[in-house]
């Protein structure tokens, strides 16, 4: 056990690159990343369970630890609109939200991406009302699928910190905004040891932001004006090309981060015992950690189970998924989200990704854990047993609904 711990510790907490190791909540990990990224303008509005990000950043700004302008806006809509304004001035900006707040921002999410502003936002995945519910569910961010934002999903507080830093590096190269998602409470309010990398190494990884185009007195540019049908489509084509460029850069940025900071969380997917697996679970967020334990317990019974943790939702990891499932017989996707009238959202995306693939395994879509309902090892075992027994694929299987 001690040896395992040491291996884990050395994997995550490289003493040469680490300034300190602190036990902190996911929201504080996000806030510390904002400090390390030398963000210049912060604008945010509190919402449970994101609130402690706003509070922590207020503290860090008040104490002078962060040298940033903090706009304490009256709504999430204004939070996103004001970071759009700040980024237009060519300075690195940050905001954070959750659930209803993200839904309120929706219009300006399109604007941020269309204006090609590399804003980074942390979203704490929380269920949408009604009924009021402050617990984890991913429908809030997945509903922003077509806004032009790059999206990552995290499994640990360390990953939250590391991904905020990588997000700026990526965003500022492709000029698209990035959303870093973490689960309400299971990450946002759960304390874990987090290694804070040395500032000078972060500076080396993330150079100062200096965009080619910004609001400047010289030149008299107009941004975001009317584009007629003869020019609008090209702007959208370029956004897609930048998304494709993001797909190329995500592994490179992860490598650079590993090289300088000494930590790697995978790229599009994190594959766990996948190579020889007959059966695969596809997960995201904190369900992944629980699934790993289940994978191990089935392996002990001689059942070749593996797990794919999906880390990016946009760009969607089509190629990586095709590669990861190429030897699998059956794939069960666990979705903590639902697109009403269809199925779990990761499921429908993954299924679509495999339609043109050479190897198409049987696929089941499981919806579980909505509104923060616990997804325990027993829940996941129920899913695995169902998957193994399945003779043909089913798009929507509800897990744990009370009859």
């Amino acid at each position: 056990m001690e040896q395992i711990m040491n291996e884990t510790m050395s994997k995550y907490f490289n003493p040469e690159t680490t300034a300190s190791i602190k036990v902190m909540e996911g929201t504080h990990a996000a806030s510390q990343a904002v400090k390390l990224a030398r963000v210049k303008v912060i604008s945010a509005y509190p919402i449970t369970p994101q609130t402690s990000i706003v509070e922590k950043l207020s503290e860090l700004c008040a104490s002078g630890e962060i040298d940033a302008e903090f706009i304490k806006v009256e709504s999430e809509h204004s939070a996103m609109a004001s970071v759009v304004g700040a980024e237009s001035a060519g300075v690195r900006s940050f905001t954070a939200t959750s659930s209803q707040g993200l839904a309120l921002m929706h219009e300006i999410l399109h604007w941020a991406a269309g204006a090609r502003l590399p804003i980074v936002m942390v979203n704490v995945n929380r269920a949408l009302a009604p009924a009021w519910n402050i617990w984890v569910e991913q429908t809030d961010s997945l509903a922003q699928r077509d806004t032009g934002w790059i999206q990552f999903y995290c499994e640990s507080n360390q990953e939250v910190l590391d991904m905020v830093l990588q997000a700026y590096r990526l965003a500022e190269q492709v000029m698209l905004p990035v959303m870093i998602n973490l689960d309400a409470f299971f990450l946002s309010h759960t304390s874990e040891p987090v290694a804070l990398p040395k500032q000078e190494l972060v500076d080396q990884f993330l150079p100062p932001y200096n965009p080619k185009y910004k609001m400047e007195l010289e030149g008299g540019h107009a941004f975001g004006g009317l584009a007629m049908p003869d020019s609008y489509m090209e702007l959208r084509y370029k956004m897609q090309k930048s998304m494709e460029e993001a797909e190329r850069l995500i592994p490179i940025v992860a490598e650079e981060y590993d090289h300088i900071i000494g930590r790697h969380h995978g790229t599009f997917l994190e594959n766990y015992r996948v190579a020889d697996a007959d059966y695969l679970l596809m997960t995201s967020g904190t369900i992944s950690g629980t699934s790993r334990i289940v994978v191990d317990s089935y392996r002990e019974k001689g059942i070749k189970l593996g797990m794919i943790k999906v880390r990016t939702f946009r760009p969607f990891p089509t190629k990586a998924i095709r590669e990861a499932v190429k030897n699998a017989k059956k794939v069960g996707v666990i979705d903590r989200n639902i697109s009403f009238g269809q199925s779990g959202i990761f499921f429908s995306e993954a299924k679509a990704a495999l339609y043109n693939a050479e190897h198409r395994p049987l696929m089941n879509g499981y919806v579980a854990g909505l509104g923060g309902r616990d997804v325990t090892p027993e829940t996941i075992s129920e899913i695995v047993d169902h998957l193994i027994a399945s003779e043909k694929g089913q798009d929507l299987i509800w897990i744990g609904v009370k009859k």
């Binding site: 609001m215 030149g219 941004f223």
Partner: protein, 303 residues
């Protein structure tokens, strides 16, 4: 008069070729405002007539940088831009928001209230043409009582009074608020120049005649902008710190009928309706005069 006109800066920061309707008050307003603000200015323009008036990409009729933004975000996007410029050390640039009445009185009101309460260092202009003109004349909360619009047809004209945006902003105790009219350019320019020198939130409300929406003649816009003031419908005044009222032009008290009769949007009004409007405007003027008197007295006490 001619002596005062000399004070109008010669600089032209609005080029030729805007695509506004003939007789549009907002183009005249923009030209004067930019003369007053000068080159170190950036504009934030939400959805409004000026989204179109500025010209399609890649053209812009303005010689200053422009950031177009979503309908309800003029105040919030301008706040962010100002903070961004501050963060990059460019503290002398004036950030102006330039919005219509819909983006100000209605959909953008929350963002303005937020920016005002935070006392953001921006100048917010609303060019008020008293309805959603860019979408083809639908009522806004800035539409005056009794007016026709496409959503308040003549059988049921608007039966709610125009929202008093100046009083709403005054309640936020911001450093500077002013009303202005394109028929009084010296007054307008003086107010804009004054606003530029004040730190914190400034709000300038400009009456902006709209021939297609008001059903008036394009060559009548300046006269209507003058009549709005002289009839006491749109008095010219300033409010500093939310309580110091100062009337900058003594309205003559021209009968409101003269103003209303020049606009087709009021054609259906009866003499009794007009009489009611006259009474309302007289009362409002009286109240304004009282506020000015009270604030002068209070300032003397403070001195």
């Amino acid at each position: 008069m001619s002596q005062q006109l000399i004070d109008i800066p010669e600089v032209e920061l609005m080029g030729k070729g805007h695509v506004a309707c003939p007789g549009c008050g907002s183009t005249v307003a923009m030209r004067f405002v930019l003369k007053a603000l000068g080159e170190e200015t950036m504009a934030v323009i939400p959805a409004c007539c000026w989204t179109i008036v500025d010209g399609p990409t890649p053209s812009s009729v303005l010689k200053i940088p422009v950031m177009h933004t979503a309908f309800e975000t003029a105040a919030s996007a301008a706040s962010g831009l100002k903070h961004g410029l501050d963060a990059r050390g460019e503290k002398n640039t004036t950030v102006m928001a330039w919005a219509g009445d819909g983006g100000t009185f209605d959909i953008g009101f929350q963002a303005i209230s937020g920016a005002a309460e935070r006392n953001e260092d921006i100048i917010y202009f609303t060019y008020d043409n008293e309805a959603y003109m860019n979408t083809g004349v639908q009522r806004s909360s800035a539409t005056p009582e009794g007016a026709w619009t496409t959503t308040t047809p003549t059988k049921t004209p608007k039966n709610k009074p125009k929202k008093d945006i100046v009083e709403a902003l005054a309640a936020h105790h911001i450093p500077y608020i002013a009303t202005a009219s394109i028929a009084f350019p010296e007054d307008l320019i003086a107010k804009v120049k004054k606003a530029k020198e004040i730190r914190g939130m400034k709000f300038i409300h400009i009456i902006s005649p709209c021939p297609p929406g008001w059903k008036s003649l394009p060559n009548d816009s300046i006269r209507l902008a003058r009549l709005a003031v002289e009839t006491k419908i749109f008095p010219l005044y300033e409010v500093e710190d939310g309580w110091k009222y100062h009337i900058t032009h003594e309205s003559k008290g021209t009968p409101v009928k003269e103003y209303l009769k020049a606009q087709g949007r009021f054609n259906h009004l009866t003499d009794a309706d007009i009489e009611n409007i006259q009474k309302t405007m007289d009362r409002k003027w009286k109240m304004l005069k009282m506020k000015e008197k009270l604030s002068l007295e209070e300032m003397e006490v403070l001195d």
